[in-house]
């Protein structure tokens, strides 16, 4: 069984700060991490390998520094890692990213057929959830998004059954391999890699593929030029014009603070008082 997991290296958004004057991202000291949602995809692929044997390949498209994210995946137990990197990719939107990743996957399939492609449900920097569906459509693979559980895989009949989080419930779906799964978060827990994998990850010669290796001839079809969307403006969110009204009576008891808050809030927002009074009934 061959699973390919598509991952992304992202800045840890919890630690991002915006410069108050220039309104630009202060990248200094912000660690680059594997997109946390992708770890659920990787762990699921590793679990299938535990059950059925086979190979787990991780792929990322990004700058040379994304190599670190791939090595981390190898240390968790992935077998092979490919970095797809080319200057012409800079500024690619989600449509072009799925184009380049699809070309990469086709290249991988030349040497080994792929049974399952995994992605996280979305990234924490872009939050679009568009690249997974994009790859599935381009490869004409069945698309299973927000999968919460892989129920079973029947390799002989090339069938898979999964539970998928739908809007008002859970769908139990059956489809055929190969297919693309975007994994829901919280569905598993990433293992600790063993020592052998850690050493292997450090020494492993991972593959670095540029645009021509994956068969994209025309640089105008990727990057900014190939992207249908264009960013026209980047700006910081407007601050609210007023700071909070601070209820802070020196050395006062919590009880007094609470009743002062209620009195002020209900005087200034009589509608809210009526809304809360409804709950008395």
């Amino acid at each position: 069984m061959h699973s390919v997991v598509c991952i992304k290296q992202v800045p840890d958004s919890a630690q991002i700060r915006v410069h108050p004057v220039t309104n630009t991202i202060m990248r200094q000291g912000v660690p680059a991490i594997i997109n946390p949602y992708d770890l659920f995809a990787l762990e699921e692929a590793l679990r299938l390998k535990d059950r059925f044997g086979g190979t787990v390949t991780v792929v990322t498209m990004g700058p040379p520094m994304a190599e670190a994210a791939l090595r981390k995946c190898l240390s968790y137990g992935a077998d092979d890692a490919i970095l797809v990197s080319d200057r012409s990719f800079a500024g690619s939107d989600t449509l072009v990213t799925s184009y380049a990743l699809t070309a990469t996957l086709r290249k991988i399939m030349e040497s080994m057929p792929v049974d399952l492609i995994f992605t996280g449900k979305q990234t924490i920097d872009g939050d679009t959830a568009q690249v997974g569906p994009g790859i599935a459509k381009r490869l004409d693979y069945q698309l299973l998004t927000y999968v919460s559980k892989i129920v079973d895989v029947d390799l002989e009949h090339r069938e898979i059954r999964v539970e998928r989080r739908a809007e008002g419930g859970v769908q139990l779906l059956k489809t055929t391999l190969p297919c693309l799964i975007t994994m829901l978060e919280g569905t598993n827990e990433m293992r600790f890699g063993d020592l052998d994998d850690l050493f292997r990850a450090a020494r492993y010669e991972l593959k670095v593929w540029d645009r021509t290796v994956i068969g994209i001839e025309d640089p105008e079809t990727v990057g900014v030029k190939g992207s249908p969307t264009v960013v026209s403006k980047v700006f910081a969110p407007r601050p609210r014009s007023q700071r909070a009204e601070i209820i802070d009576l020196q050395d006062d008891s919590p009880k007094n603070l609470a009743s002062t808050l209620l009195a002020r809030m209900f005087t200034q927002h009589p509608k809210l008082e009526r809304e809360i009074a409804k709950r008395a009934r």
């Binding site: 568009q130 569906p133 459509k137 992207s227 980047v234």
Partner: protein
């Protein structure tokens, strides 16, 4: 790649001649088992403004199984501002599945050629939007918070948070049509319905055989709505953050919520720590909420959290750090220990409600 790395557009890009005749604003009306997701009505409210700015029709797309109340949904859509509805009903469309829905919506776009297509950023909407945009090779902007029209170019300026909400960016799809966008539930205001409004229903046949569809729905297990939290539509939310120190202290949040008949929410760190379930996460990677009252206890107010709850009518923040960013955008702030202030608030609301009860 990310939007930061992308340089703002300099020269004007012309629309590809293939799309010059594309007209009208479309909203995909998301329904499951005859139940319409309220985000669709919010989108019609926003779509109405865009259609008026472009001087075109606002059209709904209703896709459903044959037994479902398709025409009833169209009638409701007219009430929320649609001029026309395309209605597709077929047995293969009874349950949401990516393949037939993508084909249905893609075919419809290719036939009737809208210039804008909007969907809700729900699990269904995101699954479908990404697939349709890739099939059409057009631009798609996810989780928009503001949509404006440039009347000269007829371009849609779609603004969305990026980098976990630290920054906003405005994105254009200049060469391609339709310009696609998704919007999260509760980001746009719910429009008032006018039941006397009428519109035109265009019934469109859909020819796809069940035998040609690979993925099968074996079972659908609906969530038990009694214990499934519905934060986006809650009127009052009490939320807790890392400032509560220990998972046991979250009980204080639940206590206050119980008294107020409120939903319980939390910031990303407490959800990741497993103190509360995933459906209760408020913020960029969780839910967007719009309650009448939002009480935040021990939440610092990082931008990722703020983008999810900024739309609340009244925000009360309790935090021991007077410099916490939450005090920059809350309406009322109590500088103090959430573990002692929360029980005091619970008692104060209890007393207030008892009084209201007495007054009848």
């Amino acid at each position: 790649m990310n939007e930061q790395a992308r340089k703002p557009a300099r020269k004007k890009v012309e629309l590809d001649p293939r799309f010059v005749s594309y007209r009208h604003v479309w909203v995909f009306i998301e329904s499951e088992r005859g139940e319409v997701h309220p985000v669709s009505w919010e989108l019609l409210g926003e779509g109405r403004k865009l259609a008026d700015a472009l001087n075109v029709d606002l059209c709904g797309v209703v896709i459903a199984g044959p037994g479902e109340r398709g025409k009833g949904i169209c009638a409701e859509a007219f009430g929320y501002g649609a001029d026309k509805c395309y209605l597709l009903q077929d047995p293969v469309l009874a349950d949401y599945r990516n393949e037939p829905y993508t084909k249905a919506l893609t075919d419809l776009v290719n036939t009737y050629q809208p210039e804008i297509l909007m969907l809700g950023a729900s699990t269904l909407g995101r699954d479908l939007a990404g697939s349709v945009a890739t099939t059409l090779k057009t631009g798609l902007v996810a989780d928009c918070t503001e949509l404006l029209i440039d009347t000269e170019s007829r371009n849609l300026a779609a603004t969305r948070p990026t980098f976990g909400g630290s920054l906003l960016c405005t994105i254009l799809t200049q060469r391609h049509r339709p310009q696609m966008a998704t919007v999260r539930p509760r980001v746009m205001a719910m429009p008032d319905a006018d039941p006397s409004r009428r519109g035109e229903i265009v019934e469109v046949p859909f020819a796809m055989l069940e035998t040609s569809i690979i993925t099968k729905v074996l079972e659908y297990i609906p969530d038990d709505s009694r214990d499934k939290p519905n934060l986006p539509f809650a009127d009052i939310i009490v939320a807790g953050g890392r400032g509560l120190k220990k998972p046991e202290n979250f009980a204080l949040v639940w206590d206050l919520a119980r008294v107020l008949g409120a939903e319980v929410g939390g910031s990303r760190p407490v959800v990741q720590a497993g103190w509360i379930e995933l459906d209760r996460q408020v913020g960029q990677s969780g839910k967007t909420v719009r309650p009448k009252l939002y009480i935040a206890a021990g939440i610092s107010g990082a931008i990722q959290h703020r983008v999810g709850m900024d739309g609340a009518d009244v925000i009360v923040a309790i935090n021991s750090d007077p410099k916490a960013p939450i005090f920059d955008f809350a309406h009322y702030g109590i500088v103090g220990n959430a573990m002692t202030v929360l029980p005091a608030l619970t008692e104060a609301f209890k007393a207030h409600l008892a009084q209201a009860r007495k007054a009848g």
